[in-house]
């Protein structure tokens, strides 16, 4: 079975999402954007244009560019609202034979379902391109106030587009699903949806059946089909134009480019004022007059923006009050308020909602995408994907082993999804070491001693070899129940030892939290400790290499150099035990310089009988794969 596409078929913009790996994911259109304008057109040569491209050519082709078709779907021509909307659109609208509506595009008259189908068809095609598989099923959202005729027409639109519409769901319900509120018993949720051109408010209640998932029921819904972000934008544009006119005496509202740039500047100012309290609207060369080019430079404060948008926010809040009164609940009964629509990013709007309900509204899911995400989740539930999704756990704390210098080397990082398995190759720390001790630790601290010890075991029987040569593969395996098995295997002999640790996730939330906090608090000192341990390891390794090379190359190294090296070795040995990382490093570097002189001397020395081969590998543990 293929994926079920979740579609938010909006008045101004549409969006789509699917479930992937148990998570909802927004799909981009072929133009690379996460939402698509709900605009359809028939071009000069009769080609169909949908979305961004249709919008770009709208002014050249106003009679054949149809937008806001959602206002007409499922309506009859004679309805009062329809008559009003017809007056505000540039395309032709007529009464169909059955009393419905038809719009003219090119030579043809089309039903709103057919126009919506073009939008759905484009989304379907783009989704197929993204996913590389055919899409035949969808969940489409509609406003909660849509009647049966409007829902049926939306379903038909899907059918025309070649989609089997598995379900039509309410937009606020989809938003609540996106937040997972269907799993909370008796949850009362208000969905505040301030879109580009419409405002909807819904009061929902989650009613639990026998299942773990409840049904989301709409207790009341209200709205204004002609209230939205574009009203606020228009207000900002007017204010900017008026301010500019006051200063320059020029009205830029009739210049199409100036108008376009004002639109963009207003949008930008609105976004900036969501975080800053003041912004500068800067439009160079907005126009020109006899004195030459003119620039627009106007300071805009958040207070100004709030003043400009106050009337629209007040209207929305009055409708919200009406919806609450129509519901069986008081404001204080509401558990969550969800914000939908990009305009709700305005701090003033959030503040108004917060003041009304006495609680912070929730917008942790992107308000432009939350409805499509909810539709995808509904699709996932219908397709069995959501129900079947196993609850995958993560390990709360990192797991690792103690390595040379008491350093905790992590094999599995915390928050890794289980079941999982990781391996790493380690080696011995000294020559002819025949056994290694595997000390399993849990926690975020850098030194093994600061972490929780989970257990230890010894792998012996390693054939004697110079340090760093044996390869011991350590494998951590955490199964779905959180049970950890640690295995160590000598790659030469295939001899292995293992330990099974059941209590690795037996820590309480508080313990885990404490361990994490400790790690954060001690990050700096831990880092210093690891550096010290590493410097000591390095020092030891250098001393080892120096001594070994002197023995292996007896006679090739000039006597004075040998004395010098021995002195440096002694210096490193003396410093090695100290806590001064810098001094240890300095001594090691001094030794390294002498060693390179020695290697130079060896290279240039004439060959001698009985030459020994230098060790291939003198690296100490850990040896990463």
């Amino acid at each position: 079975m293929g994926k079920i596409l979740g579609i938010d078929l909006g008045t101004t913009n549409s969006a789509m999402a699917v479930m992937r790996g148990g998570e909802p994911q927004i799909l981009e259109t072929s133009e690379g954007s996460r939402t698509m304008p709900s605009v359809v057109a028939v071009g000069k040569t009769g080609e169909r244009l949908v979305g961004l491209i249709a919008r770009r050519q709208a002014v050249t082709n106003p009679k054949n560019t149809v937008y806001q078709i959602k206002r007409f779907i499922g309506h009859t021509f004679d309805e009062e609202g329809v008559q009003k909307d017809i007056k505000s659109v540039p395309f032709e609208v007529r009464k169909a034979q059955n009393g419905g509506i038809e719009v003219k595009m090119g030579e043809a008259w089309m039903r709103p379902e057919e126009v919506s189908a073009m939008i759905l068809g484009k989304l379907k095609a783009d989704a197929e391109k993204r996913l590389g598989e055919p899409i035949t099923e969808a969940v489409i959202t509609v406003p909660a106030y849509f009647n049966d005729a409007q829902r049926a027409a939306t379903r038909d639109a899907g059918k025309i587009a070649g989609l089997d519409v598995k379900r039509i769901i309410n937009e606020p319900t989809a938003a609540a699903l996106a937040y997972g509120f269907n799993k909370k018993k008796d949850e009362k949720v208000v969905v505040f949806d301030f879109g580009g051109g419409t405002f909807d408010i819904s009061v929902l209640e989650v009613v639990m059946g026998g299942d773990a998932e409840g049904s989301i029921e709409v207790r009341s819904t209200d709205g204004d089909a002609h209230l939205g972000g574009k009203d606020i934008d228009q207000k900002i544009i007017d204010w900017l134009a008026t301010e500019y006119q006051k200063e320059s005496g020029i009205d830029v509202r009739n210049d199409p480019l100036a108008r376009q740039r004002l639109d963009e500047a207003a949008e930008k100012a609105k976004i900036e004022l969501s975080t800053a309290t003041e912004t500068e609207v800067n439009i160079p060369f907005i126009t020109s007059d006899a004195s030459g080019p003119r620039h627009l430079l106007i300071k805009m404060t958040r207070a100004k923006l709030e003043e400009l948008s106050a009337e629209f926010i007040d209207r929305a809040m009055a409708i919200t009050k009406r919806a609450m009164e129509a519901s069986p609940f008081k404001n204080a009964d509401i558990n969550e308020v969800i914000l939908v629509g990009g305009q709700t990013r305005m701090p003033a709007m959030q503040a108004a909602v917060e003041k009304f309900f006495g609680k912070k509204p929730n917008m942790s899911v992107n308000p432009d995408e939350v409805v499509a995400v909810g539709a995808a989740i509904q699709g996932g539930i219908l397709g069995g994907e959501v129900r079947d999704v196993l609850l995958l756990d993560v390990i709360p704390l990192s797991l690792g082993i103690e390595t040379m210098g008491n350093v905790a080397t992590k094999l599995i990082e915390r928050n890794t999804t289980i079941p999982t398995s990781r391996s790493q190759i380690f080696s011995t720390a000294s020559d002819n070491q025949t056994s290694v001790e595997i000390h399993v630790t849990q926690g975020e601290r850098a030194m093994a001693a600061d972490n929780k010890s989970l257990g230890r075991f010894v792998l012996d029987g390693i054939p004697p070899a110079p340090r760093g040569l044996p390869q011991v593969e350590v494998t951590f395996d955490v199964d779905a129940n959180g049970i950890l098995t640690v295995k160590a295997k000598d790659k030469t002999t295939n001899k292995e030892q293992s330990i099974r640790i059941e209590g690795s996730s037996g820590l309480s939330e508080t313990d885990i939290e404490k361990m994490r906090k400790d790690a954060e608090a001690n990050a700096a000192t831990d880092k210093a400790k690891v550096e010290l341990a590493e410097a000591r390891n390095m020092a030891e390794q250098s001393v080892y290499a120096a001594r070994k090379s002197l023995v292996d190359n007896k006679g090739k190294v000039p006597a004075e150099l040998e004395t010098e090296i021995n002195a440096k070795v002694a210096a490193v040995e003396a410093k090695k035990g100290s806590d001064n990382t810098a001094e240890i490093k300095a001594a090691t570097e001094d030794l390294a310089k002498e060693l390179s002189k020695m290697y130079e001397a060896i290279k240039n020395a004439p060959p001698q009988p009985g030459d020994q081969q230098a060790p291939k590998d003198t690296r100490p543990e850990p040896e990463k794969k």
Binding site: R20, G21, G22, E31, G32, G43, K44, L49, I53, A54, R56, Q57, A58, V59, T60, L131, G132, P256, L257, R259, Q260, P284, F285, S288, G292, P293, E385, D388, L390, D479, N481
Partner: protein, 159 residues
């Protein structure tokens, strides 16, 4: 996890009898169904992961282009102002500056486009106004920018 045979088959059942056989059949049926369900879930996860990996790989390839597009987008106000400055004052220095910008952008694969006289094409042009019926670009108010075939911004034109 290992489950021993005893957990499924009790002593009595192992001894036989039609009732026991029936109950065993039922359990076998359930086990087969479960096996199928788990297999499908596992296959689905594997498929999701394979698709995810493929997509990540292509995203990574795409990333460079996206980063460049993002950078050009951030530069657009400056580039637009330069273009407007030239429109208002066709100054030699400004034109040289624009040329340098164009060359630098070209080096990283970004191209400025939009010319008077081109046929209007909404895949790369955005119409701001229409003054004639012949569907040709009569004025480019702001150039478009693209990287490979991706339109960073359409050219904003008058028809």
């Amino acid at each position: 996890m290992e489950t021993s045979e005893e957990e499924f088959v009790s002593e009595e059942e192992a001894d036989g009898g039609p009732a026991a056989l029936k109950s065993l059949r039922e359990r076998l049926k359930k086990a087969v169904e479960e096996k199928q369900e788990y297999l499908e879930g596992w296959q689905r996860s594997r498929a999701d992961f394979a698709n995810y990996k493929r997509e990540e790989a292509s995203l990574l390839l795409d990333k460079e282009g996206r980063l460049k597009a993002e950078l050009v987008e951030a530069l657009l106000p400056t580039l637009d102002t330069l273009e407007l400055a030239i429109r208002h004052n066709n100054d030699e220095t400004l034109r040289m500056l624009q040329k340098q910008f164009d060359q630098s952008l070209k080096k990283v694969g970004v191209e400025r486009f939009g010319e008077k006289g081109e046929e209007f094409d909404p895949t790369k042009h955005e119409a701001l106004a229409k003054h004639s019926e012949d569907h040709l670009v009569t004025d480019v108010q702001r150039s478009g920018y693209k990287i490979n075939d991706h339109i960073i911004r359409p050219a904003q034109v008058i028809i």
